[in-house]
Amino acid sequence: MSNLKNLTAYRSWNRKYWLLAAALLLSVTVIEAKTYFIEKAVGQYLVWQNPGREKVGRQWQVEQKRLLAGTRLEKISKELRSREKAIAAIPDFPELMRQVLREKQLVLPAHHFIRLYHTLPFFLKEHVIEPDSLIALRLGDRLDNVILNREAEGIELVLLDAQSRIENILFISNELLQVFFKHGTSEVVDVTSDPRFAGRVFPFDRFWQSLSRLPKIMQNQFFEAMPELLTLAGPTAKVAISNKISEDLVEVAVAPDNFRAVIYYLPEDWIINFVSTLEYPWMQDEAQDIL
């Protein structure tokens, strides 16, 4: 009897708990169906965990590659900028030529090229390109870049338009390059004994007298072309004309003493004009001969 009682009580207890569990499960299901509280709880937990998690997965890998790409392109762009800076820092045309000789090839935006072109004395400019040709190119918007190529016989300048088409090809021979490099530089030389100046060395006062016979405008050209003429003028100073003519340019030395001289290259016709002012006809003839 007692066992039977126990069994009934157990069944009742069992049913009660199962019903309770089922009711609990049902209410959880209903609430979940209405509110999605489990998903939300899990979601919120994951959001809470989010800051500490690593950037892994497909799109993060792409992001990583994007970063790498950006770094690489930034590096290239930085190199280009530093190259542009280096080009912008080139002080004058001869230095540009030296750079081309070192680097084999250089590409210059037109405005940089023109800036450096203007650093040349006006009588040397036309040996690169006539200023009016350059103006014509600029006016027609036909000059965008200049490529400078080092070659065995000199430097080739390729003028390109915005579509990278060739507008003109210029050439600066090695001989002319030497003129650019040496013009206005000081050289250790005794003009009185150097054979290339033999017979054409003028004491400064005589040179000055002859020069003053030229029209004022021509005198100014000499002063402008040879700025050291005024600096080095003195009782021991001499001006010597060389027998070397490169590309219609005559080498002229302004020597403060017998140890050094500043070398210039002047147009041949200027020297002819100067020679015509010399006092003695034989000197004129001799001077003409060397030209």
Binding site: G43, L46, G57, R66, A69, R72, S77, S164
Partner: protein, 665 residues
């Protein structure tokens, strides 16, 4: 007893809960970090490839991003109806759909996706496409997190911008532009339903390759929209009846673009090209490219119909180069383009046969002092190489023609004469000459080089022939004009700088002989095909008819066509006739050029100073008695042909003139 059972149940529950929690923790440990702004992770400036006319022809690696208000509401509704009907209700997962999918997968063996839009977004953002349960659970967890972090609108916006539509279309803006040539905001209901339908299977439902399947899927999407009350019956019927107007020009890759990208990768690295958002301005002429693709396909199909079946598809390649600039305007590397496939126009070096002769004759004129009117003897010749090897070249027609002027020998592509010239030049000089023409392929220093036993790509051939049209000026082939970075800074640019590599007068003499090839020589089929503009060219056929070439030039374009099999099968017609360059490749060249000259006019070639035109007897080189009997040749200005003697020229017959034995000195 009661207690025992109770504790057992409680313990069981606890174990299950603990197991679920442990599993959850394990999966949650290596979940990805999710950014606070999904746009940051999705948007990427694509690398864009532009044609020479400024049109955008290809994009790579990028992902456009448009806000939800710039996406057509039709599409928003359609995509929800097609992919996730309960999107606006659930919190990341659709439990019923998951149970259904699980049941069907496990018990019925059917594959059915139960993924919500949020789950798909999670998958596309962070996971691979490998089917694993662990991946699926992680995807669910990320979806739950996404739902907790972002609004439904933000999730839908990210999804629309990330999802793949096939081809190169990632995201709705890209898809709308590529398929319909319009912005995502302007999509109609019918267009929206079609695009929303594609997502399910972008390849199989592509409206270009599978239009019927795409329309069926569109109908399904519209049906779902109607069932969910998103559209009414009349709108549904109207959308079904709407005619879809697809964008005429699809941005798709071709061999030209593949090559451009490989060049850019060489220069900047793969990451920079794919993910750097570069702007690559190329020399491509899309119209010319299309013409080349079409004419090659038509020409190969025509030829294949006449050939003995080999079981392999007949292949071909075309390269087209601009004469004034050296820019490559079109490139076809296969009969049918395959992304990343073998590019025969650039990478393949096949024997060029007689196509090499213009270079050899140029060298002979320059080094040996010959000219097109010089008389040579076509007779059986045996050559002994320094190694003592015997070589006896034969002519195509297996006959010898006796004395003839060089132009006639060139036009008839006489092998014996080319071999004689090659012998006199030496293999070393021939190789040096080919290098002057810009040919970079490996060149063996052997005597048969004179007959084209060297592999050269169609691109190099076209570029090299272009030098003749420029009277000796070499321009390197250019594909990329300019590359800009994301900020518009020019990273690289090409400069067109020519180099005088040949003597203009000699170059023009060879060019004139090449004109003769088209007018009366082995390339007559060019004229027979109806191409009548001024042009010069040369056929090429390799030993045993494995390769057929025609390379030719006008004043505007140089093009080279190669035809052959990948496995070096011989090209024989069913009647047993070998396919020559004149028969197999020249008609393709001519048909392409007929269309190309409408855009790139062909004028008369410019005659340089130092040459003149005379008419001579093609056998004797003497001034022709009657102009109609003579052959017009271009010779150096100071050249005077020998005057006829009183005696008539000796009659030459193969039987009386003995074999020439030419020993290496």
């Amino acid at each position: 007893m009661k207690r025992k059972i109770f504790y057992s149940i409680i313990s069981g529950f606890a174990v299950v809960l603990l197991a679920v929690y442990a599993g959850f923790l394990w999966l949650a440990t290596d979940l990805p970090h999710i950014p606070s702004d999904l746009r940051h992770l999705i948007y990427a400036q694509p690398t864009e490839v532009y044609a020479d006319d400024g049109s955008l022809v290809y994009t790579l690696g990028g992902q456009r991003y448009v806000p939800l208000n710039k996406i057509s509401p039709h599409f928003q509704k359609a995509v929800v109806a097609a992919e996730d009907g309960h999107f606006w209700q659930h919190h990341g997962i659709d439990k019923l759909a998951m149970v259904r999918a699980f049941y069907r997968t496990v018990f019925l063996g059917q594959t059915q996706g139960g993924s919500t839009i949020t789950q798909q977004l999670a998958k596309n953002l962070f996971f691979t496409f490998k089917k694993r349960f662990s991946r699926k659970f992680k995807e669910i967890l990320v979806a739950l997190q996404l739902e907790s972090m972002f609004s439904k609108e933000q999730i839908l916006e990210a999804y629309c911008n990330l999802i793949y539509f096939g081809g190169t279309a990632y995201g709705i803006e890209d898809a709308a532009q590529q398929f319909f040539g319009k912005a995502a905001a302007d999509l109609t209901l019918a267009e929206s339903a079609l695009l929303a339908g594609i997502i399910n299977s972008p390849q199989a439902l592509n409206p270009f390759s599978h239009p019927e399947a795409a329309r069926r899927r569109q109908a399904v999407v519209l049906q779902r929209m109607k069932r969910r009350g998103l559209i009414d019956e009349a709108t549904y019927a109207q959308a079904l009846a709407d005619t879809l107007v697809f964008s005429p020009r699809q941005r798709r890759s071709n061999d030209f673009i593949d090559h451009v990208l490989s060049l850019a990768i060489q220069r900047f690295g793969e990451e920079a090209v794919v993910f750097g958002g570069l702007k690559i301005y190329t020399t491509l002429d899309p119209d010319l490219q299309q013409m080349a693709e079409e004419e090659l396909a038509v020409g190969l199909a025509r030829l294949e119909a006449e050939l003995d079946s080999t079981g392999m598809p007949l292949q071909g390649a075309i390269a087209v180069v601009s004469i004034p600039t050296g820019e490559v305007k079109a490139l076809v590397g296969a009969r049918q383009y395959l992304p990343g496939g073998f590019n025969r126009a650039v990478s393949q070096n096949r024997h060029v046969g007689s196509g090499i002769k213009p270079f050899i004759y140029y060298a002979a004129f320059e080094k040996l002092g010959l000219n097109p009117a010089s008389v040579v003897m076509d007779t059986a010749s045996v050559f002994y190489t320094p190694a003592g090897r015997r070589w006896m070249p034969r002519n195509f027609d297996r006959r010898y023609h006796g004395p003839m002027i060089i132009k006639a020998a060139f036009m008839q592509s006489i092998n014996v004469i080319a071999a004689q010239l090659g012998y006199r030049l030496t293999p070393k000089v021939m190789k040096e000459t080919l290098r002057r023409f810009g040919i970079q392929a490996p060149i063996p220093e052997v005597l048969p080089l004179a007959l084209g036993t060297v592999g050269i790509s169609p691109l190099e051939m076209a570029s090299a022939y272009g030098i003749f049209a420029r009277n000796g000026e070499y321009l390197p082939p250019i594909f990329i004009k300019r590359v800009e970075d994301i900020n518009g800074i020019v990273l690289d640019r090409a400069f067109i700088v020519g180099e005088e590599r040949l003597q203009p007068d000699i170059s023009y003499q060879v060019l004139d002989m090449m004109r003769g090839v088209i007018e009366q020589g082995t390339g007559r089929s060019v004229r027979l095909s109806g191409f009548l503009a001024p042009a010069a060219g040369k056929t090429g056929t390799s030993t045993d008819y494995t390769d057929a070439w025609f390379t030719g030039t006008t004043t505007s374009l140089a093009a080279s066509v190669w035809v052959g099999y990948d496995r070096n099968f011989r090209l024989y017609t069913r009647s047993g006739r070998g396919v020559t360059g004149g028969y197999g490749a020249a008609p393709i060249w001519a048909n392409f050029m007929k269309r190309a000259v409408e855009r790139y006019p062909a004028r008369d070639f410019r005659k340089p100073p130092g040459v003149k035109q005379i008419i001579v007897d093609p056998k004797t080189g003497w001034p022709a008695a009657e102009p109609s009997e003579g052959m017009t040749v271009v010779v150096p200005e100071d050249y005077w042909p020998a005057l006829p003697t009183d005696l008539p020229p000796r009659q030459w017959t193969p039987s009386t003139d003995s074999l020439q034995i030419i020993q290496n000195e």
